[in-house]
């Protein structure tokens, strides 16, 4: 019984980790005032890169690093278009997603049907055997630890450092920031690249930890869920952590409810994670002041300095 609960918790953590990482990246991007709808595309590019590099070198760590690099390079394409040429962010982000899905399918064609290399767990002897939480806290895959570190890292950066404050000011009012001599576009470029790196890492989690294999379109909409989570969390990292795990818990919980034979219609159970998202979004939006306080005021607005 204890084992079962431990396994359930672990499965939830695995399901939540890619969502959390991708959403954290997007959170920083949006805090800088840029809306990048290309998360799904960057994620799938990271997934295929991680898989390919790990397979070619036999080293999943290199796969992970490769995914981070490709993710950020891919986001740079988006950055160039929306920041330097000031194209429409929504349209550009969408095309980034479509491009990523198509491109990754093409790159990954030869890897279909090949088992991948798994990133092995980091286990701390002794502590791993603590009942219920031992494996969760001391015996997980490296990307899980990175994801938790990232939550607190991003929190510290956004709210405790001067650079973080500047980044938020760029997202809230780019004209004032510009007038103060802050290089708005440079901040946004770095934010976008951080978002890309995170999405790439989240993708690598899918092909190196979650299901170590390459299958076309295997992100199956997780990038979109990550985008929703950012709003869900009202642009706060800790709420994002809660949201990602809530989402993971509901989606894994419904599978268990079915296997237990509770007699609840499976269609209803499958829609639970999305219902939960809607409910939380409604609750958040009823408090208008709170929403406005956290929403980056310049989100999605192009900035052209010469004007």
């Amino acid at each position: 019984m204890m084992d079962m609960w431990q396994n359930i918790i672990l499965t939830i953590a695995t399901a939540a980790t890619p969502l959390l990482i991708a959403a954290l990246g997007e959170l920083v991007v949006e805090r800088s005032g840029v809306l990048n709808l290309g998360v799904e595309g960057m994620m799938i590019m990271g997934a295929v890169t991680g898989f390919a590099v790990a397979l070619a070198t036999g080293n999943p760590w290199l796969g992970m690093i490769g995914a981070i690099i490709i993710g950020s390079l891919f986001s740079l394409l988006f950055g160039f278009l929306v920041l330097s040429i000031a194209t429409n962010q929504v349209a550009t982000g969408l095309s980034l997603t479509l491009l990523g899905i198509g491109l990754s399918g093409m790159i990954g064609e030869e890897f279909v049907g090949e088992p991948g290399v798994k990133l092995s767990n980091i286990e701390i002897p002794g502590l791993v055997d603590i009942p219920l939480v031992g494996r969760l806290l001391f015996g997980q895959d490296p990307i899980f630890y990175i994801s938790i570190a990232l939550v607190f890292g991003v929190m510290w950066f956004l709210f405790k450092t001067r650079t973080g404050l500047t980044l938020r000011s760029v997202g809230d009012n780019h004209d004032s920031a510009h007038a103060l001599g802050i290089p708005v576009l440079r901040y946004r470029y770095f934010a976008v690249m951080f978002g890309g790196a995170c999405a790439g890492l989240a993708g690598a989690h899918l092909t190196l930890v979650y299901t170590p294999q390459w299958i076309e379109n295997m992100t199956s909409g997780r990038g979109w869920i990550a985008l929703a989570l950012v709003v869900f969390a009202s642009w706060r990292p800790l709420r994002l952590l809660a949201g990602a795990y809530l989402f993971g818990a509901v989606s894994i919980g419904q599978l268990h409810a079915q296997a237990l034979g509770l007699g609840i219609p499976s269609q209803f159970l499958s829609s639970l994670p999305y219902l939960a998202t809607i409910v939380v979004l409604v609750i958040i939006s009823t408090n208008r002041r709170l929403t406005l306080m956290n929403t980056p005021a310049c989100l999605g607005k192009p900035f052209v300095p010469a004007r």
Binding site: G102, G108, I215, E216, S220, S251, A259, P265
Partner: protein
């Protein structure tokens, strides 16, 4: 989606230039998943390649992958019909209504719909394979090698095809162990590797030591391998994902049918059919029996041989429905109509069928 749009655009452009080379017969395929799923759509695409290989210069093929079931399929079908396809294979159950709608507008184009049952126009054929024959064999294997006496079944959508598979599996299992238990998890998708993997984990956590799936990716096999339980592959031979895990796999071999039908179009003698072939015709093939004791292997091969020879049908009475009422009397064999519209479980399935 992007690929689909690209392919649609490409086929539109190609459509302009196709009239010059009218001599070739054009066979077009619509897949519900990516051809790289290594499962359902992958096998259909293998069938397409078989057509190219067998008929060579006489034929030209095209395909669209990841076409969602529903209204999008209508656009894809129409585009194909307009672009000069002579025969269109729509390879998923959910394209059923769209195939019949589009077929009405293009009486000269032949439509072949996989796993459906509606043939509203003379230019629509349906074809399917008796996958449940393989599922029965799998059920027998599962009950023989399982220590826990519990198997987990990852199911996609509650359509007759899938329900039939579940029933056949439990009947096979009960023929070996009458108390065998089957847990079913519906994931409501044909293809989502992570979700399928999560479902496998949930089933294993709840005591199943055999995993079988009616979804299209290799993820459940991989999870089973990781957790050290046994599993059955789906649609293609997935042995590479579980060398010590896969017991066998039901392989869909669509090639022979596709070649036959395209040939019929070339020769001008295509006629509406409703094909439901199985092991006998070689449309359902079992992957090598692995990771099981010799006596189980023999049992499986015997059953397979009997089904192949037409001596045995998995749905032979006595069979009781889940609600306790009698379905088939001793020796009675299920009629095709009931099977193709199957919307009930037989006794022994630990699940409530979503309606």
């Amino acid at each position: 989606m992007k690929k689909m749009i690209l392919a649609l655009a490409a086929s539109a452009v190609m459509g302009l230039g196709v009239s010059a080379a009218e001599a070739k017969t054009k066979a077009c395929f619509i897949y519900v998943g990516p051809i790289g799923d290594f499962g359902w759509s992958y096998q259909h695409d293998r069938g397409r390649l078989d057509v190219e290989e067998a008929l060579g210069d006489e034929v030209e093929t095209a395909y669209l992958e990841s076409v969602p079931e529903g209204p999008d399929a209508e656009r894809a079908l129409e585009r194909f019909a307009r672009s000069g396809c002579n025969i269109i294979f729509a390879t998923s159950f959910g394209y059923m209504d769209q195939v019949n709608q589009v077929a009405a507008d293009f009486p000269d184009v032949k439509f072949e719909h996989a796993t459906g049952y509606k043939r509203e126009h003379p230019n629509v054929s349906t074809y399917n394979s008796k996958f449940h024959e393989g599922r029965y064999v799998q059920g027998q294997i599962a009950a023989s090698v399982s220590d826990a006496g519990v198997a987990g079944y990852i199911a996609s959508f509650p359509i007759p095809e899938v329900v039939m598979g579940i029933n056949s599996f439990i009947l096979g299992a009960q023929s070996v162990n009458p108390d065998f238990e089957l847990k079913v998890v519906w994931v409501n998708t044909w293809f989502d590797p992570s979700k399928e993997g999560d479902a496998a984990k949930a089933l294993i956590d709840q005591g199943a030591d055999i995993i079988t799936q009616h979804t299209d990716s290799t993820a459940p096999m991989q999870v089973a391998a990781e957790r050290g339980v046994k599993a059955f592959g789906q649609a293609s031979d997935m042995i590479d994902f579980g060398k010590e895990t896969q017991l066998t796999s039901i392989i869909d071999d669509w090639g022979p049918y596709y070649i036959e039908r395209v040939k019929a179009v070339i020769e001008g003698d295509w006629e509406q059919v409703d094909v439901w072939d199985g092991m006998t015709e070689g449309h359902v093939v079992m992957a090598p029996y692995t990771n099981m004791p010799e006596d189980v292997k023999k049992l499986a091969m015997d059953t397979e041989a009997k089904i192949k020879a037409g001596e045995f049908d998995p749905f032979t009475g006595p069979i009781t429905k889940q609600d306790g009422t009698e379905w088939l009397k001793e020796g009675e064999v299920a009629d095709i109509g009931t099977l193709l519209g199957m919307n009930f479980y037989v006794k022994g399935v630990d699940d409530e069928l979503p309606q």
